[in-house]
Amino acid sequence: MSAGPKALTERGFGALVLAFAIAAPWLVSSYWLDAILIQTLIFGIAAASLIFLSAYGGMISLAQTALVGIAAYLLGNMVTARVPGGETKGLTLGWDPTVGLVLAVVVTTVIGLLFGALAARSLGIYFLMLTLTCGVIANLFFGSVTQFGGFSPIAGVNRYTPGFIGDMVNDRTRLYFIALIVAVAVYLLIRFVLRTPFGLVLQGIRDEPVRMSSLGYNVALHRTLAFGLAAFIAAVAGILLVWWQGQVAPGDLGLPATIQLLVMAVIGGLRRVEGAWLGAFMVIVIDNQVTNNIPSSGLPVIGGSFNTIVGAIFLAIVVVSPDGLLGIWERVWATVRGNRGGKVAMARGSSL
């Protein structure tokens, strides 16, 4: 089946973005590469796990940030060592970094399956609250149980990486390409899963859970498995995050971080997985620019909080386009093509 003009345009645009991403280390400053683009890729992966559940499973999860943090904490506790000048927080087990990497991803995925099993039978606001509860428990656990780190950060985690990963402290271009490869792999994985029988059933459950159940599909099991896959993706983001930051602290899985990830997904567009990276990029750039420019601009900061300004910008985007930035694209396309059924086209696109 040949692709339509919209799909062709999107693929062309996607190829351009990918080409820019590959060339970025030679095009942008080292700060932009490190602080903006790597961060975009990592939070984009985390937001993709949220959008995957939302767009294709009908579940808006507030536990994804916690899963990112759990993976980071597990890795930090397992690989750091208590040596002179070394880390002092957490278990400091000093295990082999490869073993730590695999275990952190596997254990986080298992925890994600448990979260999913708990929440899979609920819907809407109840699902939201259950996943939020899981996230808050994780935050309080790592913030309060000092053996696992406590309030202070576990730092220096990026000094303990497997040999095949290389130096994550000094070679930030290498980290960028690793994050880029993982981001592309996650994108392709989600696209692939959606075309499998499991993915099709998941989308059926999203649209008609009762009908799918009456057809004999185990709705709760499919939702739990989807949550497990999303947890795996979040775990990968967590590993990259702790390599990028070098540290992990309770703030990485706190409520503000949870809301920030949700905002990224909403800004990008909750209906398509591509929105994850677009939303992450927008949020990170806006946050960076506001922090850089507002204090020196002499503008009065409403309520003394930078977050107020950042929030106002987000509000404006959401008011203009409730479907996020990708929603604007859908509308523009519909207008150009004289197609008034933009939402229909979008819903169709979302099932791909």
């Binding site: 400053s29 080292s30 700060y31 932009w32 490190d34 602080a35 002179p84 000048g85 070394g86 002092t88 309080l140 913030g143 309060s144 000092t146 406590g150 309030f151 202070s152 950060p153 730092a155 220096g156 402290v169 000094n170 930051q245 070098g246 540290q247 602290a249 703030g251 990485d252 706190g254 971080a257 960076n288 922090t291 850089n292 204090p295 020196s296 003394g304 909080s305 930078f306 977050n307």
Partner: protein, 463 residues
Amino acid sequence: MSRIRQQWKLLVLLATAAVATVAVSASIAATPPGVKLAIMSDCKGAFAFGYELDIGGAQAALAKYAGGKAKNPNKPSAGMTGITIGGTKVDIVGYGCGDDTAPTALKEVRRLMEQLDADVMVGPLSGDEAVVVANYAKDHPDKTFIIGTAGSQDPTMQIAPPNLFRYHGDGAQWNAGIGEIAYRKLGWRKAAIIMDDYSFGWTSAGGIIADFCAVGGQITKRVFPPLNTTDYAPYVRQLPAPGGVDGYFWVVGGTGTGASLTAFEQAYGPLDPKQHIGNLFFAFLGADKVVAPKVVGSYVGGAGTGPGLQTAQAKAYEAALNAVYPKLPANDLFVYNYYNAAWALVQGLTASKGEIGAALQKGMPKTLKTGYSVSNGGMIKLDSRRQAMTDQYQLQLVKNADGSVGPVVVAYVPGVDQSFGGLFKPSSPPPGRTQPACKKVKTPWQGKIREVKNGKITNAVIK
């Protein structure tokens, strides 16, 4: 014809690109050489009120010793111009906006040091942020970091990168002497301690425990409410009842100080000032309105500053500070510590002749004449891990003539080092829930703490 037009377009494009390249190169070439300085503080979170205090403290020193001109004497963050050290121009390229959490601290340090390309940073404000900065410094040896105000021990004890300097005491040092005062002046032998469950809480409590146990006191119970606890009743109930111990040490900060004392009142009745000693949270950081009036007469652990100290050096410092920023409280720990950090930087850059990196780090002063220093010729001294050995002042809350409640200096503790006479070591675990253990040891200042009366250090030793 169309081919010619295309060639013209290409030519115009190339010419534009060339002009733009030359313009950008010219603008880069026109950038004056100098040192790029960043000041890191908190503008969000629990310590957001420290933003202007920190910036003001640092900039006042730059005004006094490096010719800086404040843009607005009532708002330090408005900026400062004209800073020159030994002929080298110093530009303040940015102010860091932390929120007392590690992730934001890291984000802000990166923004300042990488995006704004600062060579030197003065800051941060709090303990966990300093742990972040110390780890960042380890990975960026060409940049220089001078901690603004931070009480955690790890940055200069366990992590201690060679490009990180701290010209004030850590949270444990600030409390040197307060345990001995409890033991000798109040007659405490057994005490309980309640401490915030994070690095500053542990470090601050570590100083109290080490000092109290060093003279023979016993800590019979340690309680750890998580940071940002709102209901302290369960934690206060874990403390022994007033008959079970001689007194209580409080290391609970932020809104928790007042809330935890109220919970104690509700559980065990009115507070007896002779039974309660607090760390700096009883006297500083907004304590004067709610907390201090509850415990007038209590002794309070210090923060390295000497409120009301009547020495020529203290008066000179206070005058210099207020000449630049008249509304800043000179004896505030944020103001004072950032002032000293910036002054040390001025001396370092003078010694390095404006060079940054390793030359600056080599040139950073090993001693520093600071406002409230008395021993060692009025100088603080850096140890081998670039951590200050410095005098400390212990305080008491008193009612002023106008009815307000505030701290006055009652004890002078000379030359306090970070190791507490060898109790804390780089190889030993940093302060935690069970660290340090309660041990009777000989601290260098034991038996040498002198009474301070009406702001004057007397020869009378506290017995």
